[in-house]
Symmetry: C2
Subunit: 290 residues, 2 copies
């Protein structure tokens, strides 16, 4: 057995948990496979459900405590996972390790740089940890190919999806959000710093105010990974809030990159989409093999 | 003298006026040059100030009345100008000519297609009118090169501007809004259907909510024409509301394409920026000569 193998012999799995349900699902998957789990939950981001597992809660900005806690729990393999809205200042503390690191990497840390996650991976690796992707521990979290539920995109939806994918691939070299809403061949909203949920809320507002005049369900949310994203830490994720947001924006469906998108609470998420007549479809982009 | 010459001998200048102050400034420029002006003002869009000139107000959707009015006033040359927020339904009527045209051009008219303006130009030309750009009548409306006021971009601002221009050129083949906000090398907001003012409001909100944490003035609004825009009808415009929006978003300045951007009420707009310590700069993109 290679040392990097992910079986129980690799020791407890460490999970650095940011927001949302995905960290919980990774923990559950590891537990189901009989592997002990230790969670370091980021204050102000992680959901309370982390309490179901061995865990500590630490403020953002305390890498000294994070590394120490994982070492103390015997974790050599770490998954860094969860939604990454920027934290509120009151949830941030800096330990001594952080101050050392910040002086060395000031630009990556303070510059609002989205390559922060890539930098975080290198940091863990420099400390001797192995960073694994959430989907390596819980492959069932990945969106499959084709419709995930009962509803499927129409040919017109497929044309809108193709425009969204084309745009996102074109704009991908800029380090921005990777989601758009396309309606009738037209890109009506592009995500940058606001995140997918706020972008969907904007589409709902544009429709409500009459600035975007469409009758009934129209348009598609298209969400893909950045071309140069580190798949271990930065796979896009959808879940119940995405379906709810798409519904409020009166879209016809959601298209994601098959095999490269995490679906939180997939059964419930897809069931909610089914009830609403919304499609959720995995589009093969070939990114994983490239 | 060629028939297409724009002197007084070309007859009254027709102005199809949408929103904002720019149509007024075109009318003033023509009047200053001694040329009679006749304005067809679009209800719900045009500002009340059109009343200073010979004019009629018509609902959107009445091309039969528009063509008839311009012909009745002896106009052969038309400027189509003004801000183009999508109209409220109650301001729209369809005359018989519109119904004829709509059946012929349903997709361009109903599809929310931003190429609508290009189509509008062709429509006027098919009716025997010559369409002129606002900047041909009032070249003083165009942003010059370099800082327009007292404040100038710093080298760091110039780097952000370059990122914005690079992005907009890259994404330009998609028929979307042509403005972004760049802060510290990062694109934080991209305009699509919402328009520049709402995009700036979003940046202000992201900062207020702490989702975008920056201290003090930071970032630049970059606004350029689409690569394939018809310069006669679709030059981007900035004005007092752009400066006010950039201020609320606590930006450091505004960068536009020199020679390809209309500045409404330039003296007042630049003075407001000066008072606020905001730069407004014309960047040479070479688009006019290409």
């Amino acid at each position: 057995m290679a040392v990097a193998d992910a079986g129980p012999e690799a020791g407890a799995l460490g999970i650095l948990a940011a927001g949302g349900r995905v960290p919980i699902m990774v923990a559950e998957a590891a537990a189901r496979a009989g592997r002990p789990v230790f969670i370091v939950a980021l204050r102000g981001l992680a959901v309370p459900e982390v309490a179901r597992f061995s865990h500590i809660v630490v403020p953002i900005g305390t890498p000294g405590r994070v590394f120490g806690a994982f070492r103390g729990a015997g974790c050599r393999e770490i998954v860094i996972v969860g939604s990454a809205t920027r934290p509120r200042l009151r949830d941030v503390r800096f330990d001594f390790k952080a101050l050392l690191l910040v002086t060395r990497y000031a630009r990556a840390v303070l510059g609002g740089d989205d390559k922060l996650l890539t930098w975080l991976v290198r940091l863990f690796e420099a400390e001797g940890f192995t960073v694994r992707g959430a989907h390596e521990i819980a492959p069932e979290l990945l969106a499959g190919e084709g419709p995930l539920g009962r509803c499927a995109p129409s040919p017109a939806d497929a044309a809108d999806i193709a425009i969204g994918i084309d745009y996102l691939a074109t704009a991908g070299r800029f380090d921005i959000g990777q989601a758009v809403v396309v309606v009738n061949h037209r890109i009506v909203a592009i995500e940058a710093a606001e995140g997918t949920d706020l972008m969907l809320a904007r589409v709902a507002e544009l429709r409500a105010s009459g600035r975007l005049r469409l009758s009934g369900r129209a348009g598609v949310l298209v969400k893909t990974p950045k071309p140069d994203q580190d798949r271990r830490v930065d796979l896009p994720a959808i879940g119940a809030s995405t379906v709810a947001g798409a519904l409020r924006a009166e879209l016809r469906g959601i298209a994601v990159a098959a095999g490269e998108t995490l679906v939180a609470d997939a059964a419930e998420t897809v069931a909610a989409a089914d009830r609403a007549g919304l499609f959720v479809a995995g589009i093969p982009l070939g990114g994983v093999s490239s």
